[in-house]
Amino acid sequence: MNWKTLDDTQLRRLKALVFLTALLPLALLMAAAWQDNLGANPIEKITHNTGYWTLTLLLISLGVTPLRQLSGANWLFRLRRMLGLFAFFYACLHFLTYLVLDQFFDWSAIAKDILKRPYITVGFAAFVLLIPLAVTSTNAMQRRLGGKNWKRLHSLVYLIASAGVVHFAWLVKKDLSRPLLFGGILALLLALRWFYKLKSARLRRSYSSV
């Protein structure tokens, strides 16, 4: 079997596996909550955990294209939408945790937070920007928008991920090691993207000059 190509059955199985794996962090969190194992500050734990997985899944979904280019395994591409939607799913959980558990619908406190706390402002903006990407993730929406527009819209994900890293860095009291790790990975992914863009542009140029 050639690992670079998968038939439909294999792809379906792989997708089911990725789907279940992506649900694992939520399952573990729910199990911990069920066993009263979330520590002294459960709301903080849930907030941090869902935020962590939002960023992690965003970075994984951004890693799909460079990984495909490096490996030549084109089926990776078929997982990208699911990973992106899972990032959105955890972002929704993260936002709902803030809205319900942390602030308990205290709308004036939330409005103040969004206007006055820069890390909330940035995090909220990133969440809002994710919504149009999730809404236009279907094949039908992709066709309606047209490939070029769709691509342009979805390149917002780099801005969103950057905002996510800034959101994390600004809320940390002092130890920046984890936000910096996320930021480093994001910078690497961006660098790879530019590298391949330049390379394909150069290839196109050399073809057209033949």
């Binding site: 002294a40 500050n41 006055k116 706390r117 820069p118 009291k173 090691s177």
Partner: protein
């Protein structure tokens, strides 16, 4: 290890106590680790005997106190205090200790002693978090002399009837209940009386975010978050934060005429 004490009636509190498990498993003690659970896991490395505390500087009788002597220096009292962290969560803890004033009287501060600096232990072998320069080590905190002499400022050796768990600042720490938690230095090895206001580790780390006074104040926000409310651990809804953490009646007079937005 049990620690004998008598409950000081004047310092009882009707607030519900935070369970010992939460008090000892949810800690900010960057010398061990920057996570909340880390300090409890790493705390076994700290050796609290032998231990001496050196009291020096602007005093007539500088002295090194063995921890055994410090424990006997004044009657141990149990005091239930609110603890408000600058991160906007809070606990209620039954501490064991006696006023820092009892110790300071013994060394006879001179009239030049206007500030007190607390220096915590520095030893990366015992405190592995010090291998990273998260803060400038050793941890340094400070009080103005009148704050340090205030009867609420407690030199603390225990909680919940026992000696302090290492992760809570064993064998001896400060508890200054009207200030944010980081003002209460842990695992103290040196107390220095000074003419000038010392620069603390947190002031160095973020001069715009952490001032010398750090009095609990719902009116003065941290630049990156509100201090108007707090989550009392174990409660769902946030509760309003009280000026001076509810100790305004006792301590507000110390700051008469001061602009607390500038002296944050």
């Amino acid at each position: 290890e049990k620690l004998a004490s008598s409950l000081s009636e004047a310092y009882g509190l009707t607030d519900k106590l935070t369970p010992l498990e939460d008090v000892s498993q949810y800690n900010n003690f960057y010398e061990f680790d920057t996570s909340k659970e880390g300090p409890a896991k790493m705390a076994g490395r700290l050796k609290t005997r032998p231990w001496t505390v050196s009291v020096e500087g602007e005093v007539r009788k500088p002295k090194q106190f063995a921890i055994e002597d410090l424990l006997k220096l004044a009657p141990m009292q149990e005091r239930i205090y609110r603890l408000r962290c600058v991160e906007a969560w809070s606990m209620v803890i039954p501490w064991l200790g006696y006023p820092l004033a009892e110790l300071l009287k013994q060394v006879e501060p001179t009239s030049d002693a206007r500030y007190v600096e607390f220096v915590s232990l520095q030893d990366p072998e015992q405190l592995p978090g010090q291998r990273r320069a998260v803060l400038e080590w050793p941890y340094r905190e400070g009080l103005r002399i009148d704050e340090a002499m205030h009867p609420l400022a407690l030199l603390t050796f225990g909680l919940y009837g026992e000696v302090l768990p290492n992760q809570n600042g064993a064998p001896v720490r400060m508890v200054v209940p009207w200030k944010y938690g980081f003002k209460s230095a842990k695992s103290i090895v040196k107390i220095r009386l000074l003419k000038q206001q010392p620069t603390t580790s947190w002031m160095q780390a973020g001069p715009n975010e952490y001032g010398f006074y750090a009095n609990v104040n719902p009116e003065v926000d941290h630049p990156r978050w509100s201090q108007a409310k707090e989550r009392r651990l174990g409660e769902f809804l946030k509760r309003p934060t009280l000026p001076f953490n509810g100790y305004a009646e006792q301590v507000a007079g110390l700051y008469a005429g001061m602009d607390l937005t500038k002296n944050f």
